[in-house]
Symmetry: C2
Subunit: 116 residues, 2 copies
C-alpha cells in the first residue's frame, strides 16, 4: 500500500469506518459522504479493495445472497483504522498549513494577478 493514500482509497476506508459494506453499497456510501463529488468506478473500487485486503487494512466480513445476487461485505480492520487515523492527521496538517498561507495571500496578495 502506498502512502499517502489517494482520495478513492481514503474514502473507502472512511466509509468502512462506519459499518461493513459491500461493493455497490460502498460506491453509494462514498457518493454520499463526498456530497456526490466522488463516484467510484468498479475498476477503482475492486483494485483498491484487493490492495487493502492484501495490506490487511480491510477484510471480508461475510457474504450474503440478496435476491439471487451475491453481496460481499468488507470490514475495516484495526490496522486499517490506525492507518486511516494517521492519514487523516497528515492531511489535517497539510490543510492547516495551506489554510494559513492562503489567509495571508488574501490579506496581501503577492500573485501574478494581484492588484496593480
Amino acid at each position: 500500500m502506498e502512502t499517502p493514500l489517494r482520495e478513492p482509497t481514503f474514502l473507502i476506508l472512511t466509509a468502512l469506518a462506519g459499518e461493513p459494506l459491500h461493493g455497490y453499497g460502498l460506491i453509494a456510501e462514498v457518493d454520499r459522504l463526498s456530497g456526490g463529488r466522488v463516484s467510484l468506478r468498479p475498476g477503482t473500487l475492486y483494485g483498491a479493495l484487493d490492495r487493502l485486503v492484501d495490506a490487511g487494512l480491510v477484510r471480508v466480513d461475510h457474504e450474503e445472497i440478496v435476491e439471487g445476487r451475491l453481496r460481499r461485505y468488507y470490514q475495516l480492520t484495526e490496522p486499517g483504522g490506525e492507518v486511516l487515523a494517521t492519514e487523516t492527521e497528515r492531511m489535517r496538517r497539510n490543510v492547516d498549513a495551506a489554510t494559513a498561507r492562503l489567509r495571508a495571500i488574501k490579506a496581501a496578495p503577492r500573485l501574478s494577478g494581484g492588484v496593480a
Copy 2:
C-alpha cells in the same frame, strides 16, 4: 494537471503561497512546513514544477546567480492560488468526514480487533 493533487504537488503550491522560491529553497521550505516529514527529491520537484508551469498554476518569477550558481525562482499564479484553495477545501471535507467516523469508532469499536 491531475486533480486531486498529490501530496508533493500540494505542498509545493503551499510553499509558493508564502513567497517565490527557487528549487532548492522549495525543498527546504516543504521540509519545514511538513515538519520534516516530506523531503522532496529532485525528480519529484522538477517533474512537478514542469507540470505546474504547463498548467499555468506556477510561473518562473525571475532568475539570479548567487555565488556562481543559478537560482530559478517560481511564483504562484492566481489560478494556482485558486486551485490550492479548492484542493484544500476538498481535503478539509474529507478530513472532517473521516474524523467524525473515527470518533464514532473510538466510542464503540466495531473493528476486527475490537474488545471481545
